[in-house]
């Protein structure tokens, strides 16, 4: 039998799941961007000779890029369990990584600034979604009859 008003009764539940899904997707998008950036970076350096003294710097940069991608992926997977900590940590991590990058190479602060702003906005949206999810869950727990 079809519901009389399809899914009307589960509006709150759906909204919560939507918030959570949105936060999770945001983190996966950032992880994907990080991996794509890492792959492009790898191809660039594979196709040109690297001086011996710069090799360690390049390998460290690659490790940081892929490590950050992995961190975002793990945070995305953990979002359903710890929504707010994961999203906040992701944004903090992203901002800090770029700040560290800017210390090593000040010119990098403005490189890809549009993409950086987009990612920051996406992560802020993820935090808002996580907060909304927690809020809804608390409301739900406070009034179990709802």
């Amino acid at each position: 039998m079809e519901p009389l008003t399809p899914k009307l009764g589960s509006l709150a539940q759906n909204a919560r799941q939507k918030h959570l899904k949105s936060a999770k997707s945001c983190l996966f998008v950032v992880a994907a961007l990080q991996f794509i950036g890492g792959i492009i970076f790898t191809f660039i350096f594979l196709n040109q000779p690297i001086p011996q003294e710069l090799k360690s710097v390049v390998y460290t940069s690659l490790a940081v890029i892929f490590g950050a991608g992995l961190a975002f992926l793990i945070l995305g997977l953990l979002v359903p369990k710890f929504p707010i900590p994961c999203t906040v940590l992701a944004l903090i991590l992203f901002i800090t990584l770029h700040a560290i990058d800017a210390i090593a190479n000040p010119a990098s602060l403005l490189q890809g600034i549009i993409l950086k702003v987009i990612v920051i906005v996406v992560l802020v949206k993820a935090i808002q979604a996580a907060v909304a999810y927690e809020r809804e869950r608390k409301l739900e727990n406070a009034s179990p009859g709802m």
Binding site: M1, S10, I84, P85, I92, I127, A132
Partner: protein, 314 residues
Amino acid sequence: MDSSFDFDVPSSNPEGYRPSGDAAPLKCWRCFLLNKSTALQCEFCDAPFDTSNLAPIAEEEIACWRCQKSNRVSLARCGYCDARLIQEEHHRERRENTQWKHGIVAMVGHYAVALLILLVGGWSLAFGVHRAGENDEAMFRKMLPILVTTDLLFLGLAVISYVHLAKECTQPPGRSALAAWLCAAPMLAIILGINYGYHWLLEQAFHVEGIKYPFWGSDLWPWTIALVCIQPAVAEEIFFRQVVLGTLRKHMSFHGAVWLSAMIFALAHLGGILSIPTLMLAGALFGYVRAATGSLVLPMLLHFTHNLVVVMFF
């Protein structure tokens, strides 16, 4: 059914009650999907509807502002259209919700501004990885104006953040202040021991040395005390243990908030990224002490002592 109520719901589901003569659908208490008003169990999840409690309940009714149908006063949402029954309540909750979002996002925004300020400090201290043989005192003297400016800016930011997020970052009073005061010194000694061992290992493994701030026999020692011991103890404690920890505690578990704030505190030390693991431990200690005492005095004292010992002996 002949009862004045023509539907069946468990007593734990007050929303399921409908006025007599109204063939409103019955919302399942488990899956929230709508069923026929005469259903004995949910069509979708098979949850049973309690048929034992069908006596009419005399209670004041309220008309839903959206669909105009009557509901019991105790209900939070309309049983027919799911609207919140009292608009004022709805708006209040929306306002609170916005404040929540505002608090945590604003906190991260303030952190980003703090990073921008600390970036300058990081540039001036050459990333925290010091080349052996370089003259630290000369470098410190050269960078002094930049360090003073960034420290003052960060202090200003901490105060602005505290004022701006005062409501969002209030924390409950501490409940074990005496224990915290008694345990603080030994815990700090352990953290400093770990810190020393970790940096000794770094020196052995990677041949990197931390910056040695001018202290013994230098005329710059008052500046070192002011910029490396006093300013971080005050500004960082206000920012990380009050603003950041206070905001996070409203959104997550206590331990989660303490450790996340400790991680944020450690990541903010752009001038010494190799020290992040030990800084995180120190940040967690300060966070627990802040929560236990309910004030910033002891964390500030511990932070000052920690930095003083590092400057003097490491």
